[in-house]
Amino acid sequence: MWKVRSALLVVVTTAATLSAQSPRYGVGRPPTPEEFRDRGSAIAPDGTGLPPGSGTVAAGRELFTAQCARCHGPDGEGGVGARLVGGQGTLATPRPLKTVGSFWPYATTLWDYINRAMPFDKPGLLSPNDVYGAAAYVLRLNGIIAEGQVMDAMSLPKVRMPNRDGFVPDSRPDVR
């Protein structure tokens, strides 16, 4: 009797598990390799998703001058586009200056965003090597990496951003 019950339980449990896991409507199809590629550009803060390739500060400087400076200024001081440099030590002052150098917590975000959205009017123009170079140059402008450092999938996630510990969870409701 116990055996029968037990076997029944296994059957019921298995059926429940299967029904929870099997699709109810069966809509959609597996994505094509092209669809995966096209939607696989998001980069995690641990570097998951970074493609092969690399970029030097020198290469990034050249690229920045050609593609980025017209909006962000030759030295990343800002213009039509956001200011990218400076502001370290200002976040707790009455006039905080939020830049890549003073505010952004992860270097991977810089790679992700340049790759995703820049240049503003021509996103998708840059190769992975270009993006590594541009990221390296913006980090160099902020004094975060040395002139000779090379950015790639291994080194970029290891860059310690000055404001890495500057973010805290939402504690609202906080005002009574």
């Binding site: 699709p23 409507y25 809509v27 994505p31 995966f36 803060p45 503003f120 609202r172």
Partner: protein, 403 residues
């Protein structure tokens, strides 16, 4: 009620179009309609009356593909915003997407990665919800004082719509969520491929994949053909032109959730993932830029909403904050939606400040600007929900004043 120059010019231009010449147009405006005159023929698609001129307001910009357009709340009635007047906040322009070629891909920590067409999504069981949508940066100018001459500029990154779509939980069940998945990374189809990290708990609880808005397919500027709707959460998380949802075990720390849409506190730390829009209200009539044409009875009217539930109560002051009296809450009073409040009042030439204060079902009371600043300082940019005063002068003109 409105005496803004561009509006008047537009009115005259439209009058001219109707009347044949500027002068005739002016006269036509003053004449009562003659019911013996045959009207316009039937048409396939309606335009509003040429005498209605409320439009969104946008700042001049060298990069008009990025920026905001503000809903003319000073002209609003009821709790729904016409789709054509819904506020916009774009970061890389509005893409033109043929729904027959649009696909949503659900991938990452799922058993069965899925690619879905719009026609497949539209065949699934749907839900319809009336919801408020507010930009996380709405009223940001109010931190520094009176931010904008009128309620459109101070609070216009707010709109109300009826949204129709498929519960995201339904499609996540189709794909099979793997253990360890705790976040969904949403990506849009605009040129910046807007990306936000959404906690899986929200995605399973109340997120919608919306394709309908106010009884029709949503407008391109609102995310056509598919938008992620996160009820009660800041506008930016409601990713437009949704094309990718990747389930992960961590948030991706996107540019628009770290460098933007995070709230800098006085100690230099920034709050991250501040999703909820807390209870807020604003009087839309009379409000900045209006002129009360005569003494006599008026109905003070405004909007209240909370990202944490239903509006329980709205109090109004008509004596510069000395006393507060309950306003009438107009039905429907739906959770996370705009609620219209009303308050009968007489204007007899008194110079006063009027304001409203919302309370939501959690008991949260809309704070004053001073109380917000005392806790958060002046530099948090986002999530300003302070009590909004308007000064009514003896001549009937209404001004924005500091809270």
């Amino acid at each position: 009620m409105k005496h803004v120059k561009p509006g008047r010019r537009q009115l005259l231009q439209m009058g001219a179009a109707v009347g044949g010449s500027l002068l005739a147009g002016r006269k036509a405006l003053a004449l009562e309609n003659d019911p013996r005159k045959l009207g316009q023929p039937l048409g396939p698609y309606s335009e509003r009356s040429p005498f209605e001129t409320a439009v969104r307001w946008t700042r001049e910009s060298q990069t008009p593909e990025t920026g905001s357009s503000f809903t003319p709340l000073q002209e609003s009635v009821g709790v729904l915003t016409p789709s054509a007047l819904h506020y916009e906040r774009h970061h890389s322009g509005v893409p033109t997407i043929d729904p027959s070629s649009h696909r949503l891909v659900i991938h990452g920590l799922v058993d069965r990665p899925l690619s879905l067409s719009m026609s497949e999504i539209r065949r699934l069981p749907s839900v319809t919800r009336i919801l408020a949508l507010e930009c996380g940066g709405n009223s940001a100018g109010e931190w520094a004082g009176a931010g904008g001459a009128d309620v459109q500029r101070s609070h216009g990154l707010l709109s109300g719509s009826e949204w129709t779509g498929v519960p995201l939980s339904l499609l996540l069940a189709e794909a099979g969520v793997r253990s360890g998945a705790s976040w969904a990374i949403a990506e849009g189809g605009d040129a910046c491929r807007m990306m936000r990290s959404i906690p899986l708990a929200k995605a399973m609880d109340s997120s919608l994949l919306a394709y309908g808005q106010n009884g029709e397919a949503m407008r391109p500027a609102q995310g056509y053909p598919l938008r992620l709707i996160n009820p009660g959460w800041e506008g930016n998380t409601n990713v437009k032109w949704l094309r990718s949802l990747k389930l992960t075990d961590q948030p991706y720390m996107a540019r628009d959730e770290t460098s933007k849409y995070s709230d800098l506190m006085p100690d230099g730390k920034a709050r991250i993932f501040t999703y909820d829009m807390e209870a807020k209200s604003v009087i839309t009539f009379p409000s900045g830029g209006h002129t009360l044409p005569a003494h006599g009875p008026y109905e003070i009217s405004g909007l209240a909403w909370s990202g944490r539930g239903r509006i329980e109560r709205v109090d109004v002051t008509i004596d510069s904050g000395r006393t507060w009296q309950p306003a009438v809450l107009q039905e429907p009073r739906l959770p996370l939606a705009l609620t219209r409040f009303r308050f009968e009042w007489r204007f007899e030439g008194q110079s006063v400040v009027i304001a409203s204060r919302a309370v939501d079902e959690t008991g949260y009371v809309q704070p004053t600007r001073a109380a917000l600043i005392a806790v958060r300082g002046m530099n948090s940019t986002y999530h300003y929900n302070g009590i909004k005063p308007w000064r009514i002068r003896a001549d009937g003109t209404v001004l924005n004043v500091e809270g």
